[in-house]
Every structure is written in structure tokens, then in C-alpha cells.
Symmetry: C2
Subunit: 270 residues, 2 copies
């Protein structure tokens, strides 16, 4: 295991339970190409979305420490569940600045909502944590929340534009917007898998509801606050997975929209 | 953490990555009520179905050792993925006899198939291991295999008798039985979640195809080989979960069809 080649570019560590955070990395590379990136997918222990706060905190902190030890000068927690359940514990446990996906997503959704009401969809654990609800409330916004546990397996099955996924999305959105949708005019995608469903969700949404994506919002926040000076730099990407490298590569390419070259297996203790 | 009350009944340890193995335990209690049972659900690390063989082996062995230390005199690996990927390693690592779900399921399917061809559905990892294919081949039976990764999340969403699950099952069964179904006359349920879908699958199956369930087959094999003498005994059940006890109880009751009283959280190192 070696650190990335020495360049003047800052190294940003990106962490997720699996491949979903690659939607954040994809946006980071696009919006902040002056940095190099280390990506850690804790695929041996995914999904975090159905686990308890204590378990998620333990796993996430060990991954964060690994990235710090590998030379990351900043950490992006590209995992809604880990951010929702363990952000404070991760921040306390490492010596580099960290940014999660909840605050940037909530901030952007709050700015976009004229009605001051935002509908949030995410995994079971993220919704149960009410992290988005709290972040939105601090900004004077009311949250209408809904867990959508089938979206992640549907995306991983590759059924992105598929009749079954369409029907599942219809059911979830109907449940979410029952009783006049609580006046929400923004749908916040609070899971890094969901950007792949954005076109489908856009078709199905009632008129007048805008989509805000936490993955994109986070990359925008990083680019704004930690913009690398050298804009002509071509980012070096290095990937670590705790489970099968082959599977990470195969699934991950769908999320990144490009080949994943440097993927390495790691086995970290918790 | 205490061992179950001292009785003359033998203690059987049942292990799964989550709550699915409760379909095996349910059959064990019915067919072999003379024993007491310890159930271990490795819910902090589930699902095993999408993980690599090395990862599954490591997790399964630590759980098996835990049950042995808790007083189990026999181990039932009520998890198709763990059986498929790690049966030999688990057997080597513990000092009590062990039975998995693959051999009993394959045995029963082989007996039921007049056409000498069996269709197998299971998780991605179980199918990729070809454990059922090998076990059936040893009995002179041809296997037609199909991974059904959406069934577990659909069952866990509680969509047991639901239009979406029906449509997903139709698609999977069509793919499985495309090109004249390879002559199979038995459908083998190679995942412990699938017994909950048995009524639905029964409706959708082409005529002349029987369903064999690995969970039930395993309980039958245990009852035959390790039958407890005392038949009037009322089995003591004790449950261990590595993640949230509350969630284990809530989900598990759907699988067991009864209240789960004694559920305890454990945190085991691997």
C-alpha cells in the first residue's frame, strides 16, 4: 500500500460504505480538479443504512483514520448514513478537517425552497436519525421525511430506468406526498445512490418540485471552501475497498461513469 | 451474558447473517422440539450475500466460535451464503458437529426431481459460489441457477404479497425459465428469506414445478440425525444480535411468526 505520487496538489480523502460515494467523487473531480483523491469504500461492511448508530460510528471512524494515515489533508464523508449518525465522533477522532453530506445538502435545499418545506428521501438509518430534519429546522425549513430502502438494491441491480423501479418510485413518492405533500417544493436526495435515479424521479415528481442532490451540493461546498489553486492539474484517483476489488470496480464504474484503475483491497481492524 | 437454563435438553446453535435463518429455527422448533436453541444473527455485518468468500468466512467463523463458547453442542449454519462460501473453514475451526443448508436442500431437491434438473434461486454470492450446482451434480442432477438480489430487500420491506414483488418475481422466473427452463421440475429456494415468498412463487411458477425449501429441508435433516429424546420439552430460545436488538426483534418476528423475547446484543471481534 503506497501513498499517491508526490505532487503539489492537496489530497482529499473521500469515504463511503460502498460505491455510492463515487457520485460525490465524480462531482468533486469535475468541480475541484486541482486536488488528488483517495476513496475508501467499506464494502465488506456495507450497507450502513440498516445498521445502528454505534455500529456505523465504529466503522466510519476506522475508515476515516485510515484515510488520514494515507495522507489525506481533508476528509469528505460521502455517506449520508455515516454523516447522519457519526459526524461528531468522526470529527473528534481525526486531526484533519471533515465535511459531511448533510449540511451542504440541507443548505442548498433550504436556499431552493420558497415554500420553506423540503421533502427528504434517504435510507432507513438516515431518516431515523432525523439529521436532515434538524439541519433544515436550523434554517427555518420544515422537513417531510421518507425512507426508501428499495432504491439502493434497485440501483445496484442496474435497474436504473426500469418499470419496477418506476413503480417503486411512484409508490414511495405517493406515500411521501400524500395529504398534499405538506407544501414541499424541493425533493432532497439524501443518499449517494439516488443521483442515478434523478432522471426517473424528475419524470415522476409532481410539477413545481425541484430536485436537490446532496452529492452535488457537497462537491460544490468543497470546491468553494477548499478549492485547489492549480486548475490545470489532472487529478490522481486511488481507491480502497474492504471487500472484493473486482466487484467494487464493476459496480463503481456505473457510479463514476469511467473506468476505475487503481483499486486496492484493504483489511482494517475496528 | 448467560448460558440458557440448565436442562437435560441438548443445546443447538443456529447461525445466520441476520434474521433469515429464523425460518430454519422456526422449522427446527416445530420438527425437533426436544432441544433448546441459541440463535446468532450477525446483523451488524449483514448482508453476507454481496460479500466475498474471505470476508464471509472470517465473519461466520467468529460467530460459530461464539455459539460453541455459549454451550452449543451442535451448529446449524442457517445461512446459505456462509454455507456456500465457508462451510469447510467453519467445520475446521470448531469442535462440535455442524450442518449447513446446502446439502439438505440439494438432497431433498434431488429426490423430488424426476427430470434430474433443478432450478436454484439464491443471493448473488451463493449463486456465484455454485455450491448448489456442485451438491446437485454429485447426485446426478443438473442445476439451472439464478441470483435474485432484490428478494431479500423486498421481504425486509415487508412487501411479501405486493404487486412490485410479484412483478420482480415474474421477471426473475422468466429469466430463469427462458429457453424452456432447461427441463427443471423443481425450484430450490436457496436463501432463508425466500420461504416468506413461497406462496407468491407457487402462484407464479409454471405448472409441474415443485418448490423445495432449504430451510425446511435442513430442519428435517437435523430432526432426523440429532433428534432430542424428550419430546414433551418446551424449547428455550435465546437470541444474540450484533446490531440493534430492537430491529432484530421487529424484523425477526415476521420470520418466526411469534414474539422474540430473549434478544441480547453482542459485540464480537473478528
Amino acid at each position: 500500500m503506497t501513498a499517491p505520487e508526490k505532487t503539489s496538489a492537496p489530497v482529499i480523502g473521500v469515504f463511503d460504505s460502498g460505491v455510492g460515494g463515487l457520485t460525490v467523487l465524480k462531482e468533486l473531480v469535475r468541480l475541484n480538479p486541482g486536488a488528488d483523491y483517495l476513496y475508501f469504500g467499506d464494502t465488506a461492511r456495507l450497507p450502513y443504512g440498516s445498521k445502528s448508530a454505534a455500529t456505523v460510528a465504529k466503522y466510519a471512524l476506522s475508515a476515516a483514520k485510515f484515510l488520514e494515515a494515507q495522507g489525506a489533508r481533508m476528509l469528505v464523508i460521502a455517506c449520508n448514513t455515516a454523516t447522519a449518525l457519526a459526524f461528531e465522533e468522526i470529527k473528534k477522532g481525526i486531526g484533519i478537517p471533515a465535511i459531511g453530506v448533510v449540511e451542504p445538502g440541507a443548505q442548498r435545499a433550504a436556499s431552493a425552497s420558497k415554500a420553506k418545506a423540503v421533502a427528504v428521501i434517504a435510507t432507513e438509518a438516515t431518516i431515523a436519525s432525523h439529521a436532515y430534519q434538524r439541519a433544515l429546522k436550523e434554517r427555518g425549513i420544515r422537513a417531510i421525511e421518507k425512507a426508501c430502502p428499495l432504491f439502493v438494491p434497485l440501483v445496484e441491480e442496474g435497474w436504473i430506468d426500469h418499470e419496477v423501479t418506476r413503480r417503486v418510485a411512484q409508490i414511495y413518492l405517493e406515500e411521501l406526498f400524500a395529504n398534499g405533500r405538506g407544501g414541499a417544493d424541493v425533493l432532497l436526495l439524501g443518499c449517494t445512490h439516488y443521483p442515478l435515479l434523478r432522471p426517473l424521479l424528475g419524470e415522476l415528481l409532481p410539477k413545481g418540485i425541484a430536485i436537490v442532490d446532496s452529492a452535488e451540493s457537497t462537491a460544490q461546498a468543497v470546491a468553494k471552501n477548499f478549492a485547489a489553486k492549480e486548475r490545470k492539474h489532472s487529478p490522481t484517483l486511488k481507491f480502497f475497498a474492504t471487500d472484493s476489488v473486482e466487484k467494487f470496480r464493476r459496480l463503481g464504474e456505473r457510479f463514476m461513469g469511467r473506468k476505475l484503475e487503481a483499486v486496492e483491497h484493504v483489511d482494517i481492524e475496528v
